[in-house]
Symmetry: none
Subunit: 219 residues, 4 copies
DNA sequence: CATGAATGAGAGTTCATTCAT
DNA sequence: AATGAATGAACTCTCATTCAT
């Protein structure tokens, strides 16, 4: 399941080639994060990677392709953010709290890249697809979790699990975007991160009508 | 409180000038909606407005400025979408349902423009500001509503009204974006609009822990 | 002997027309002096004259033509700068000193316009001709003066009067240009005006080998 | 002491790049000399250099910059025009005559470029500075020469050497400009070059009150 | 006599991509 | 595998001049 557009170039075989390719991807990440996709020129990237403009095309066929390679890097971190696995038999509220926290932390780590993805997904259909695939993976996982809670009699049975997951996942991801991307870009005073997390989790728990036991004690 | 960037050009005084300016804005809306901001060339706009390239600069100083004028058009419709006012003493659940529906309907009417705003707000700081100002107006209104419900003992008193509003407003606006912009752009089968609305409203109501009385009977 | 390009437009007959034309010329002088010929836009001039762009063409056929009208204004002041007539039977040295001083004072009064003339005469052949005609008038007058001094046995008889006048007139006019235009434009400390005048006059007198009697006592 | 504006582009390292850059500068000189600065379009230059419009920007950032490069070419020839060095212990009159002749000859060789410099120095402050720096070098050299003659008791001690040099240098350079640029541009009958030179030198010598010995015998 | 909107050719400039070396 | 000069289409923007009102 390739989440990123296929590369049209083979991966290099020699160590030198691998090194150059890595340098280009790393440089591209820096440049893209610093200037955004549109304002980054290929020549900025090759200069940062200390190679010539022509060399770029040994490894990538276009600007889009190297962006795909850059975004690929953060993929696993965003899709499986939990460093420690959560036991699904733990208290559901604690699981949700931990999961939300893990998502926010991953977002924080990859904020610049998420901003980039948001930018290009509104420009290039290929990247819109990429973003949607990632969002869908997140939505499906949450839908499974909601369905499981419903089956165990813990969550509001009236809710369509997939639609509910779409809504709640949207809520979380947009909160993260606003917090880590928008507010940061506008040099706003940093918002109340913990408060945000607590509120988001409480809303999520309420929304599913889970028993309230111990919201907020997730640390 | 001008939500849009100020024009650097005076409004024309003669009827003819007014007509031409309107034709340009209308043409710009069509062109932007059809090709997106980046791919729209000024010459496409002037051609659609049946005037010369130079005439554009009689009324606008740049592509950004005419986009601002275009977005200005949809402003009131997005900020005050309800055609019929809701009585705040109605059943809270009914109010929320009606309000969400009104938002979705306004989004549907202005979907292309919202897509445009999403695109440029990730490119141009001026438009990021514009989007945030509009989002904030929406968030503040919902926050007041939540606070009022709390004061009347109907909503979960533990919630910070502003943070909760941010979260729930994010949920609604992102759902609308995904439904009317993303899915449409990708030629997906149209989603279950009514189901989405019902779920969103139920989640909102649950999240605030409002009494359940008559969720979903908002039609 | 029209020193300026002919106007293609008749002078207006009504008082209103005369007023508008005058306002345009005055405005053009201000605008040209402030921004130079190339950077002045017709619309700047009409705005300054408080009339519309179209009105301009009631009185002038082009940007060049109004410049000609502006330069015409300073013509007499530059060609006959002496307010009080010098008696040609005065001491020749005193006559030269007074004449140089008068030239410099006229240059000072019209410095901005001279800068303008210098600018356009290097761009537009029509104005090159205008400048040369004025320079020639100055040169011829000085040539006559030199010839007269030679005939009276006072000046170096070996000199060709016309060539000598060209050289000495060039010296004076270029000194004035450097002093009032170049140095002023570059925000240099104002040069030693009196010293310049004394030196220029002494060089002129020496160059003609006039008797030295009373150089510098020209005040 | 760079007299020309610094380049914003690095000089090319490869022979091919050097060749292309040279072709562009040579083409620019031809085009500028033929059409003047303002009427020369970049595309005329690149066409004459047989390269594409984009290539221009590999070597220069603007039209001004390539003009600076063109003017740079003639710099040394104008500042050190004497092919054979003059022995400062020669007869002073002969030295002056030789020096004036050398200046005129250099002006003749670079007349088109001098016209160009005169044109742009009245348009662009950067080139006004350039012209002044070159004029100043010329003035300073002549001032030193005058001072030396004064110290040796040969020249009028009453003269301020710097002011006198400014005046006499202005005289010479303006004569050259009028002879080689203005008269040529207006298709006038060629003036009496030798007569001009003799007169200019005689005036210069007279102006300094040098002993007359052998004026005009400088050939 | 006055208006001011409309014109439109043409300029300089950018940069992803190619390709001869 | 690497170079970097060359490409060229496409863009935005300007402003003297015209003309219908």
């Amino acid at each position: 399941m390739p989440a990123a557009p296929d590369s049209d170039r083979e991966l290099p075989t020699t160590p030198r080639g691998l090194r150059t390719r890595s340098a280009l991807v790393a440089a591209a990440r820096r440049v893209f994060e610093g200037s955004g996709y549109l304002d980054s020129r290929l020549i900025d990237i090759t200069r940062a990677a200390q190679c010539s403009a022509g060399t770029f095309y040994t490894y990538f066929t276009s600007k889009e392709e190297i962006l795909a390679a850059v975004l690929e890097q953060a993929r696993d971190d965003m899709l499986h953010p939990g460093t420690e696995r959560v036991d699904p038999h733990d208290d559901p509220v604690a699981v949700i709290a931990a999961s939300n926290r893990a998502y926010f932390e991953a977002y924080r780590r990859n904020a610049k890249l998420m901003a980039l993805l948001e930018q290009v997904s509104n420009i290039d259909p290929e990247f819109r697809r990429l973003r949607r695939e990632r969002a869908d993976a997140f939505v499906r996982r949450n839908a499974r979790s909601i369905e499981s809670l419903q089956n165990r009699g813990l969550a509001d049975a009236e809710l369509d699990p997939l639609l509910a997951s779409r809504a709640l996942s949207s809520m979380i991801s947009r909160l993260a975007f606003n917090h880590f991307v928008v507010d940061a870009a506008d040099d706003r005073a940093p918002g109340d991160y913990e408060g945000l997390l607590v509120t988001a989790t409480r809303l999520w728990v309420n929304a599913l009508r889970l028993p309230l036991s111990d919201i907020g004690d997730d640390e």
